[in-house]
Symmetry: C2
Subunit: 202 residues, 2 copies
């Protein structure tokens, strides 16, 4: 069933799909292997357990998302415009998932944080690192904007964290209501968290 050469990649891709579609706990090795077109016996050649695969999926998805965030935050325009582009890209990701699968998949890291962190310490540690990195990326972006005179912030770290928390909260609503438009207020809410009026950056 399929080429062995890319079986590991196919297992990771299948698991990302399945963990996005349904609860981690409800997805088993047999189903992941079937979706990947890999024999179940071969699964254990690549991963000792579903937990190990989930860590690999988490790492690869964050490597992709971190690169995407860095590209967008390092793009053209003012710092505020680039921040807004990041939120637009997040909404588009959810809208694309809805169009492709019929479901807003939400944030893989948020889904796993609520479902798995209390029973899986290695995953908890990894997700803590990822959210810390997300906050650090936003924080350094805001600090650069402050240096450029675009912002005047008293506590950049807390504000960066409040923006990531706001994004996770709205993505939760987007998943629950199966509606990417739940993210439409992200920009206005972020401007408030940044102490700016909406019109000043419209």
């Amino acid at each position: 069933m399929g080429r062995t050469s890319d079986a590991r990649e196919r297992l990771v891709a299948a698991a990302l799909e399945l963990f996005s579609e349904r609860a981690y706990s409800s997805v088993g090795v047999a189903e992941i292997s079937a979706r990947a077109g890999v024999q179940k016996g071969s699964f254990y050649y690549f991963f000792p357990s579903k937990e190990a695969l989930a860590l690999a999926v988490t790492d690869e998805h964050w490597a992709w998302q971190r690169a995407d965030w860095a590209r967008i935050l390092g793009g053209d325009g003012t710092a505020l415009e680039r921040l807004r582009s990041l939120f637009n890209a997040t909404a588009k990701y959810q809208a694309d998932a809805l169009q492709g699968t019929g479901s807003v998949t939400g944030c893989l890291f948020g889904n796993l944080a609520l479902e798995v962190s209390s029973i899986n310490e290695p995953m908890r540690t990894r997700l803590q690192e990822i959210f810390d990195e997300q906050v650090a990326m936003i924080e350094s972006h805001l600090a650069a904007a402050a240096s450029a005179g675009e912002l005047d912030l008293a506590d950049v770290h807390t504000i960066a964290k409040s923006i990531v928390a706001q994004l996770e909260g709205l993505i939760l609503f987007a998943k629950l209501f199966n509606d990417p438009a739940q993210l439409d207020s992200m920009w206005a809410n972020s401007l408030r968290l940044l102490g700016l009026k909406e019109r000043s950056a419209a």
Copy 2:
């Protein structure tokens, strides 16, 4: 095993504990029955399925939390002071869970929203109603504060939703880091979302 008279209540209480401790998908009828001290055969006298029990747990937990929110938001002090008391009570609930069980349990509704809403339509509908009610409670509280001259808000509904999203995002961090102190910034963040400076309500 135990009195039949309160077996239903004990099943609901046991399920609330287990769904708070672990993923919904990883908890079965046998374990819930054992925790409740109810024979598994008797479970089906009260509930046709785990899904039906989960809806009952969700309803009863929201009935309790809604009454608690109403009591706090209708208490003494200014509208802003009462809103702050609500966030303090939320942080205390998580701190009590940590002290009692060793784990920050997070928000039952947020946990179920991310894990179950994509595979269980009755639960999705119920959780949508609950989050809509939470937003409506905050919205009407903010509208009353605006009428009393404590606030000047352009879009009360969006701001109420941003506050509930912020709370869910920070509760996600509290669960992930197993640390109720993640909620410490909730008040400062809410003041920003309300367009107020921290010192004005300190």
